[in-house]
């Protein structure tokens, strides 16, 4: 099931993800009975998006890791997920990129270079997924990771614009590893 879905997804996604938005170094490991994920979600901004960023538009990214269970006849089901949202903005006064994690932590980081800011957003280190004992041995599980720009968080006039412009559809394809 999920291979077909992935194939279809790739087929659709290929032209969009052409500028090497990808997930690298996806790794799932067991740490004190708990599965954790490491990965680097590699996001890049096309010039149009960069221009918006430099004109005071805040971009919200979501990075997500999902633990899924393979099913035979029905679509695969989501067991658990871990996701984080980051706001990326450019401060002309500081001449810096500010990354704020939304939600609980609300940590703020500044970066001199956009590349560093994006790298910080895409950095997944030790995200906890699930306790090993919670898994059902008779099933096959896999982890997948992806990062994307949330168009819904854009200012309204831009949102309409972005929905119809493929250069705004920034997302990596899903990267998967089986859970062993």
């Amino acid at each position: 099931m999920r291979y077909i879905a992935a194939l279809v997804l790739c087929g659709l996604a290929l032209p969009v993800f052409a500028d090497k938005a990808a997930v690298e170094g996806l790794r799932v490991y067991l740490d004190e009975g708990r599965y954790r994920v490491d990965a680097d979600v590699h996001l890049t901004l096309p010039p149009a998006v960069r221009e918006a960023l430099h004109n005071g538009i805040a971009l919200v990214f979501e990075v997500r890791a999902e633990l899924r269970r393979e099913n035979i006849m029905i679509p695969d089901s989501l067991v658990t997920q871990h996701r984080r949202r980051y706001r990326l903005e450019y401060r002309p006064l500081l001449e810096r990129y500010v990354v704020t994690e939304l939600g609980g932590a609300r940590t703020v980081e500044t970066h001199l270079r956009l590349r560093d800011a994006l790298k910080a957003i895409g950095r997944i280190r030790g995200w906890p997924l699930i306790e090993k004992r919670q898994l059902d041995r008779s099933h096959t599980y896999y982890v997948r990771v992806r990062g994307e720009l949330l168009l819904t968080e854009l200012p309204l006039p831009l949102q309409l614009h972005a929905y119809v412009k493929p250069s705004w559809w920034i997302a990596t394809p899903w990267a998967e590893v089986p859970l062993r």
Binding site: H54, N55, I57, L93, T110, L160
Partner: protein, 708 residues
Amino acid sequence: MYRLPLFAGLFVVLLVLLFLMGQVAGSAEQFERYYIVLLAANGVFLVVLVLAIGANALRLVRRLLQHAPGSHLTLRMTLAFVIFAVAPAAVVYVFSLQMLERGIDSWFDVQVEAALDDALELSRASLDLIMREYLQDTVRAARRLERVPDSAAVLALSDLMKETGATELTLLGANARIIASSRDMAESLVPRLPGEAVLRLVAQGESYVGLDPTPEGSLRIRVVLPVAPSTVNPQARILQALYPLPQRIGRLTERVQEAVGRYDQLSYLRGPLKQSFMLTLSLVLLLAVLFAAWAAFQWAQRLLEPIRELARGTRAVAEGEYDQRLSVQRLDDLGLLLQSFNEMTERLAEAREAAKTSQRLVERQRAYLETLLENLSSGVVSLDPRGRLRTLNRAAAQILGVDAPERLIGRPAEELRGEGGAFASFMDQLLENLREADEECHMQLTLQGEKGRKILMCHGVRLPTGGQVIVFDDVTALIQAQRDAAWAEVARRLAHEIKNPLTPIQLSAERLRRKLLDRLDEDEGRILDRATQTIVAQVEAMKAMVNAFGEYARRPRGKVRAVDVNQLVRDVAELYRANAARARVELELAPDLPAVQADPDRLRQVLHNLFNNALEALGERDGGVVRVHTAVVEEGGLVEVAVADNGPGIPEEMLDRLFEPYVTSKSRGTGLGLAIVKKIVEEHGGTVWAENLPQGGARLVIRLPAAR
């Protein structure tokens, strides 16, 4: 009318959608997130409208192609409404678009932009100044820390904090290990370490000063310096100091930053904003126009509904349906029109009903006449003014021997003349007579048919409308009866008047002979003998003739009983078999022949006469056969006896008068044999006829009613 609520409902939906769009376009915060939903809703509404209009237009086109009544008017009205709706809307649209374009552009000004940039520059400069001051303070603090050992660093740091006004001071060792840290109570519990890039910079001996945004949204100054190694501390260390911005400066810079950000954002969003405004405007306008168009269709339809109704009604009337009433739902001019149409059809219906009633009356009368005609025993024939056969009643058909009268009706009489048969002969004579006749005429026609001659008494009248009616009766039987009666009278007279003197004549002649024969000489005696013998023989013959006449004239003498005709035939045939050596007698007798109520003696007389005639006709010829045949006919109602021979047959000219007395072809015949046959048969309620057989010979047939 179901359309009104629908119409109102759609209109309300349209208004709500447009209002919300207006609100959203005005950027009211709470609507912002519903904008997309609203757009989608509008889109759906748009599609619905387009479909509705499409359906309406399709229907209109179909009606136009069918040339349905009112369709052209509908088209024209709809077009007019749409044009009236679209034209002002288009003007407003173009005007609004221009306003939008110029209005939005006028928000942005090069001077304002430059001023904002300057303000930003200014804030940056003043912040730089402040940062440099704090850098100097921190450099001094770092100098003082050079000789402070790690163990005493905490104390030194808290002292330095008070002197410099920093909110946090942290001393880091190799690998960013925290040696000591001092913080304000208000600050976070954990020291906020500098990023890797900064550490790398400081490791190279540079000092870093920069602004950091706090999670609360304000700014603070971060200074990171290398602390030079000394004799006390041989290892290189790093000092980080965090200072709050002076409140006033902080507020100002924040505001500048916000304003610049907002302006940048707005000027960047100008394009998309315009697009979305235009989209909204276009959508609103399109909705309004489409709604107007749809409304135009609906309205035109509603307005023209009565006209369609009227057309439908007219068509129904044209097709002869008068009881259709149009529904009048309005009291306006068109409603009145419908009402008067209804009245008109009502009148028409009444008139038609009256016509129907009178027609029924006529029909009934006609039917009555027809039954009368059909059951009349007289034949009735009528001709129309153009000389075509119009009526031929049942009696007429029967008399004239026509099997299918309906085949002849409507054909010209002249044409029927040449058809052949009794009917043609009748027409022929009739037309001949009518030609000379005027208003009324009487005539007697004689028809030659297969079963003998027929005599018809005709009475013709010219109709006032043209054409003629001829009423006629078959008087053959009547005339026959009269003739029979006359003959019977003659016979009786003859018997009476002639038979009486015959005996004295005979006796006298015999006495004359007896007395005179001896007295005369031989010659004279011979003459007397011959003369008296002739007289006696002739008187004898005369007696026989008179007896035969008497037989003919005799009244029936009762003695009627059930007679087995077969047995009778057998008895008589036996007699002739014995006597007639030459002819053969053959019998074909029906097995289950019913009995006949008759006088057996008289019936035997009939058979004798028929046998006699047949044998006489055969004469001396060889191979003569007399064939007697009995049968049941008319579903057991009649007994038929036929005597056939293979003789010369009956002379053609005698056929129709055969049964009259004194009709004979024989030199010594009386011509009474068949007359008697007929009389006896008729006395028994039967019929008799003669016919010549195609293979030669004659056949005489009698039919008697079977006893019940």
